[in-house]
């Protein structure tokens, strides 16, 4: 197991460098000159521009900048934005918020998706199942910004059940509606995945054996069917943590949350390279970590998997 984990970690290293290099290259080749843009219409004098370029290493070749940047990241120095704020400060502010939001969305989609999927899988072909299936298709087809707008309008504005937006008040209550919106699409996927998986396992040999040896129906369903059905679902949920954190831009926009999405969006609009690169690098690390966790969970859930 430890050896397996070690090998996966080693595999993650070239992936990390490749991904960050690619991101760095894309940001680097963005059109527009951030130094000149700072001056707006008035422009920036040549001397000042040169000084800024050397301060932010913009005068060095691409690969040198990349290496310098990585060095900074590993020593905890994420650079400063052009307005002088340390990027580390932005990261420390935005990431906990988005992480909280993503975890809440993950819990929502996991609990409700698995629950509904299990019920549908047990009643495959019945009215309940087909209804859920259509509902899940609709949820997938309706864009997040429409779901968000509708929920915000009715739950927040009309019925006053939950706060309309988050702003500076980041709490369970304010994040509840955004989390549901963020997790909605994945909820539909979890539902469908669980349903298919449960249905397949119902006819598996080990389930027939469990029933034949006299176990009660609830025990067969919960222990034998559900546990085995969860293997693909857990894989999905694990990798979804990264997608949720990396895909919160719309939700954060609707509910005015100053998390990763909002900050990154601003940074991209302003062409603030240090912020873009730092935020996306951390996202890459989150993705890689989530994948590793999935691998470990896989082994815990499926006794057939043994890592040599």
């Amino acid at each position: 197991m430890a050896r397996y984990l070690g090998r996966r970690l080693l595999q993650a290293i070239p992936v990390f460098f490749g991904a960050t290099l690619l991101i760095y290259f894309m940001v680097f080749s963005l059109p527009g000159d951030p130094v000149l843009a700072l001056g707006g219409d008035k422009g920036v004098s040549d001397a000042l521009a040169a000084q800024l370029r050397s301060k932010y290493n913009l005068d060095k070749p691409f690969l040198v900048q990349y290496v310098l940047y990585l060095k900074g990241i590993f020593t905890g120095n994420f650079g400063v934005t052009f307005s002088g704020r340390p990027v580390g400060e932005l990261l420390a502010h935005a990431y906990p918020i988005t992480f909280k939001l993503a975890i809440m969305a993950l819990v929502f989609e996991g609990v409700f998706g698995i629950g509904a999927g299990l019920l549908a899988g047990l009643r495959k072909g019945k009215l309940f199942d087909s209804t859920l299936l259509v509902v899940s298709l609709v949820v997938i087809a309706v864009p997040t910004f429409v779901i968000g707008f509708v929920l915000q309008f009715f739950v927040g504005v009309k019925w006053h059940l939950l706060p309309v937006s988050v702003g500076s008040d980041v709490s369970f209550r304010t994040l509840l509606m955004p989390a549901i919106v963020l997790g909605a699409v994945s909820f539909a996927y979890v539902l469908r995945l669980t349903r298919t998986s449960v249905f397949e396992n119902l006819t598996a040999d080990f389930v027939r054996t469990a029933t034949a040896k006299g176990l009660s129906r609830p025990r067969v369903v919960m222990v034998h069917v559900l546990r085995n059905s969860l293997i693909p679902v857990v894989t999905f949920l694990g990798s979804d943590l990264g997608s949720l954190m990396g895909g919160a831009i719309v939700t954060e926009g609707i509910f005015n949350i100053s998390g990763v999405g909002g900050t990154l969006y601003q940074a991209i609009r302003q062409g603030s390279a240090p912020t873009i690169v730092s935020f996306t690098t951390i996202l890459v690390i989150v993705f890689i970590a989530a994948n590793l966790i999935v691998d470990l969970l896989y082994a815990a859930l499926d006794p057939r998997i043994r890592y040599a």
Binding site: L30, A141, V284, F287
Partner: protein
């Protein structure tokens, strides 16, 4: 000749007509195809039926709700929303129809080459897939969008396709790996068929059902992505019209002038839903393991 080769080596259960029959047995699929046909028809013919054009203003009607004259109402500069929505639908469908199949094509080539060739090539392919999978793709899309949006709808489609092929490539690779050891592939190899031809004639046809489903669902996903990009404000640049740009403009006044938001949004949902229904039914019909084929 190529066609008989294809049917002889792949789809052991039946040819294309059987698949279509099985697909259409599901009522969901019939609804999906019918609605999708209507949507496409509306996109092609709809704008012709109206006397307005998408770019000129009706100076007698600024920001009016739907009337007999302007079926979907007008926007704040007096442009007819019905025509704009259907012209926008054309663009969105074009983006979807290019990006969906294109990302499937990338996945098919990358996955099949890696899985079939194995060895060092495969290691590079796996690395590439893993790398692309850990990229925060929507942010990269946001990063690329202003440049692509200025360049036109094709560039937007290209950007979406380039960031969405990885999951499928992983699946194709796994399938190609197991196909490599099958007798008919080994036989072809020993007969001296060049690698490219083996891939084209024996490996990829075997994966055809997987690829068709992925391409169909990819169209739906792309239409959604384009709309989301537009909503974020980073879709196509003016004067281009797509569902995304309309939604971006409409969502600002979704409460005061709801028709500006709900007509494009409704059409978007209907389009995506119909496409997903078709894709779903195709998957059920093509995949023998889902067990619904005979229902």
């Amino acid at each position: 000749m190529a066609v008989t080769d294809l049917t002889a080596t792949s789809a052991p259960r039946s040819g294309a007509p059987g698949v279509l029959r099985r697909t259409f047995r599901a009522p969901r699929a019939r609804v999906g195809v019918a609605v999708l046909a209507l949507v496409v028809l509306a996109a092609v013919l709809g704008p012709v039926l109206s006397r307005w054009d998408p770019f000129t203003s009706d100076v007698t009607a600024f920001g009016r709700p739907p009337t007999a004259l302007h079926w979907f109402g007008t926007d704040s500069s007096g442009r007819d929303l019905y025509v704009r929505t259907l012209v926008g639908l054309r663009t969105s469908l074009a983006v979807g129809l290019v990006a969906g199949p294109l990302s499937t094509l990338i996945a098919a080539v990358v996955g099949a080459v890696g899985g079939y060739l194995g060895g060092r090539v495969d290691r590079v392919v796996v690395w590439g897939i893993d790398l692309a999978l850990v990229l925060p793709s929507f942010y990269l899309l946001v990063l690329l969008a202003p440049t692509a949006g200025r360049a036109g709808w094709f560039a937007v489609a290209l950007a979406i396709a380039l960031l969405g092929w990885m999951v499928m490539a992983r699946l194709v690779r796994a399938q190609a790996r197991s196909l490599r050891r099958r007798d008919f592939v080994t036989a072809a190899r020993f007969l001296g068929v060049p690698t490219g031809a083996v891939l084209r004639r024996h490996v990829l046809p075997h994966l055809a059902s997987l690829l068709v489903v992925d391409a169909t669902l990819g169209v739906a996903a792309t239409v959604l992505t384009e709309a989301t990009l537009g909503w974020v404000g980073l879709g196509l640049g003016p004067p281009a019209v797509s569902l995304g740009t309309l939604l971006a403009a409409g969502s600002a006044s979704a409460v005061t002038r709801p028709w500006l938001f709900w007509f494009p949004a409704g059409l978007l949902v209907v389009t995506v839903l119909a496409t997903s229904l078709v894709g779903d039914a195709l998957r059920d019909a093509l995949d023998p393991t889902t067990g619904t084929a005979g229902e």
